[in-house]
């Protein structure tokens, strides 16, 4: 089971401030998301390491929608994935941003 690494960068986001946050667990069908502050001129960088190969197009679309939802810039997001569905990925990304901003419910 070889891993696949994917990288995305979205420019033009609104810099958000917060504290490094990690949500989720790297277990089957799940993922962990780490959000860190980073000086990226308003960009959002995302790096995904996934055990499920061949879903690059889907990740691209999920991440694009995520960025469109939050427009969050100056953050670096690192994802360890163990075959989560897009629904779970989106949910965790949203939770991670909320936690980063300090208002996770």
């Amino acid at each position: 089971m070889a891993m696949e690494n994917l990288k995305y960068r979205f420019d033009g986001g609104k810099p958000i401030s917060g504290e490094t946050a990690i949500v989720g667990v790297l277990g089957s069908g799940n993922l962990e998301v780490l959000v860190e502050p980073a000086r990226l001129d308003g960009a959002c960088e995302i790096e995904v390491s996934t055990a499920a190969r061949g879903f690059g197009t889907i990740w691209q679309a999920v991440m694009k929608d995520f960025f469109a939802r939050h427009h969050a810039g100056d953050i670096r997001i690192s994802v360890n994935d163990a075959g989560a569905t897009p629904a779970i990925v989106s949910l965790r990304l949203d939770q991670a941003i909320e936690t980063f901003k300090g208002n996770h419910k």
């Binding site: 069908g29 889907i58 075959g83 569905t85 897009p86 629904a87 779970i88 909320e98 419910k105």
Partner: protein, 556 residues
């Protein structure tokens, strides 16, 4: 000229009598009234089954006449062969062993469940001939028309020496099978868990039964309808919230059936919490055609449910059911009586809604659980997940669905059943639920079927619910809108990514597609804390200790 009196009108009865005489002499002194010892089961079958007979072997996805199934595999293929088997469900390995030895050659059935893979391989090798894959009601119906069994092998809880049967909570298919067999010159053999002096209640009168065999061990029952609440995900909670707010409340659904699965279990567990908080108690979900799902306990205890009629029972629910006769159908002995044929009919004609899951949906909304290497059949969804076009009586939900349909399909006022397919856009291991073409097509080709095995036809489906939202197909003006509505809730699947963004937004503006936020649902509220029970133990507690789950569902 031949006088009418000379024509023979009782060939079949004579044949049955010859079989019974053969059996009597084969059993010799071992026969006590109608009771045959289990050691003599194979000889009995060899004496009453003739080559080419239609043999109905009882077994659904719950109760199985497993001892008789094994006995049938042990008959001498030189004496008993080329049988035409009739079965609700092909579930046990023995069911397929029959074809390898030549004892049987053809089958008409409804569902194949765990044997679906092997069945597909055997069909591929030409070892087995499938007449047709039916819905349950269809198959039972044909027992009374052109597929009447010559011999029925059934399972009961207990019997007395006269052959009166007590089938108890898991009565299931037995009455339908025996009715067709006993009154058309067939022979009925029942395996029973125990012999008693007097059965607790007579579910099948003794004079419809020819032989009873005390089985060396109780018949197998699969606890198929038990879902451990611990395994319900937050995504399923979100979908359940959308179902309740967007569909149950919207149509005031009072009479319904739920498919098996965690999606619908989540809905059941949200009734006393989320639905209650929306003020829906008494307004939705009062009458059910449903197996006694343990996940229903909190809703029943909360007073949501007025009645439940069941296809079969569920292991561990016996005491709970017996203690809730206002809700369940129970006999004078206090235990439940189920009946699959009646409950299927009830689900088809008397329910306003069916909601269930599937494996694949195409762009017309057709859905199927058949995959390339598995012939799985249909289970109960096909009859309940079809509009009852013959229905006449009105109810608010049925009328509203009919009105919505008439917006683009004008015609004389009539209602419409709500048929809801509830799926996550991806199943586990990233298998997409939305596909351009159902695997059923390839399966039909491979197995030489006249039509692809579709579980629920697209024109019967009214709503598709995913974590992305609800698509109301009743409101679609044409096939193109319908396709875009489906794509609009297909998320990141290839079908979803291929949607026409502008059209989908337009459909959303018109309420054809409703996302969680359109329904006023905050996704962050979708946590497992909303579940009325988060574990099987919670269910036991909710039942006041009456529910006794099978050991495999315990974690305490």
């Amino acid at each position: 000229m031949i006088y009418p009196a000379e024509k023979i009108w009782d060939h079949d009865r004579q044949r049955r009598n010859r079989k019974l005489e053969r059996a009597a002499s084969a059993m010799g002194g071992t026969l006590r009234d109608k009771v045959v010892s289990s050691e003599m089961a194979v000889q009995l079958l060899e004496s009453v089954i003739e080559p080419g007979d239609r043999v109905c072997l009882e077994g659904n996805n719950q109760k199985q006449a497993d001892f008789l199934a094994q006995a049938l595999t042990r008959v001498d293929p030189a004496k008993v062969n080329k049988l035409h088997m009739l079965q609700s469900v092909l579930a046990l390995p023995e069911h397929l062993d029959l074809y390898e030895s030549g004892i049987a050659e053809q089958v008409d059935f409804s569902f194949s469940g765990p044997q679906g893979g092997r069945l597909a391989r055997m069909v591929g090798k030409g070892q087995i001939r499938i007449g047709a894959i039916h819905t349950y009601l269809e198959l039972f119906s044909r027992y009374f028309i052109d597929l009447t069994p010559h011999v029925a092998l059934v399972a009961a809880q207990s019997a007395d020496a006269q052959g009166n049967l007590y089938t108890g909570p898991n009565t299931e298919d037995t009455p339908a099978i025996i009715e067709a067999t006993a009154f058309k010159n067939g022979i009925v053999i029942a395996q029973v868990n125990e012999m008693v002096d007097k059965v607790p209640r007579v579910d099948i009168p003794g004079d419809w039964v020819n032989f009873v065999i005390p089985s060396p061990r109780p018949h197998y029952i699969e606890p198929l309808f038990t879902r451990d609440p611990a395994q319900i995900s937050e995504i399923q909670v979100l979908m359940a919230m959308m179902a309740i707010k967007g569909i149950y409340a919207g149509y005031g659904v009072q009479r319904l059936n739920h498919g098996i699965g965690f999606d619908t279990a989540a809905i059941e567990l949200l009734l006393p919490t989320y639905a209650e908080s929306l003020g829906l108690k008494g307004k939705i979900c009062s009458h059910w055609a449903l197996n006694p799902h343990p996940a229903m306990i909190p809703a029943i205890e909360a007073g949501f449910v007025k009645s439940i009629h069941s296809f079969g029972s569920e292991l561990g629910m016996e005491n709970y059911i017996a203690a809730r006769p206002d809700v369940f159908f129970t006999g004078p002995d206090g235990t439940m009586r189920s009946n699959r044929a009646f409950s299927q009919a009830a689900g088809h004609y008397a329910c306003d809604m069916f909601i269930g899951s599937t494996l694949q949906i195409d762009m017309e909304g057709n859905s199927s659980t058949a995959t390339l290497d598995r012939i799985s059949g249909f289970g109960g969804a096909s009859n309940m997940g079809a509009d009852a076009a013959g229905r006449r009586h009105a109810s608010p939900g049925w009328l509203k669905a009919g009105e919505q349909r008439r917006i683009h399909n004008p015609g004389i006022p009539r209602g419409r059943k709500l048929v809801v397919q509830m799926v996550e856009t991806f199943r586990e291991h990233m298998h997409p639920a939305f596909v351009p073409r159902l695997d059923a097509w390839k399966l039909a080709e491979f197995a030489n079927m006249p039509i692809p095995p579709v579980m629920i036809y697209g024109d019967d489906v009214t709503h598709i619910l995913t974590e992305e939202g609800i698509a109301n197909l009743l409101l679609c003006a044409n096939a193109e809108e319908r396709e875009q509505a489906i794509r609009g809730v297909a998320g990141y699947t290839e079908m979803g990514l291929g949607r026409d963004l502008r059209m989908v937004e337009n459909l959303r503006d018109r309420g054809v597609i409703q996302r969680a936020e359109d329904l006023g649902i905050d996704k962050r509220d979708a946590t497992r804390d909303l579940l009325a029970a988060r574990s099987v133990k919670d269910l036991v507690r909710a039942s006041g200790g009456l529910y006794q789950p099978p050991v495999r569902f315990r974690n305490w």
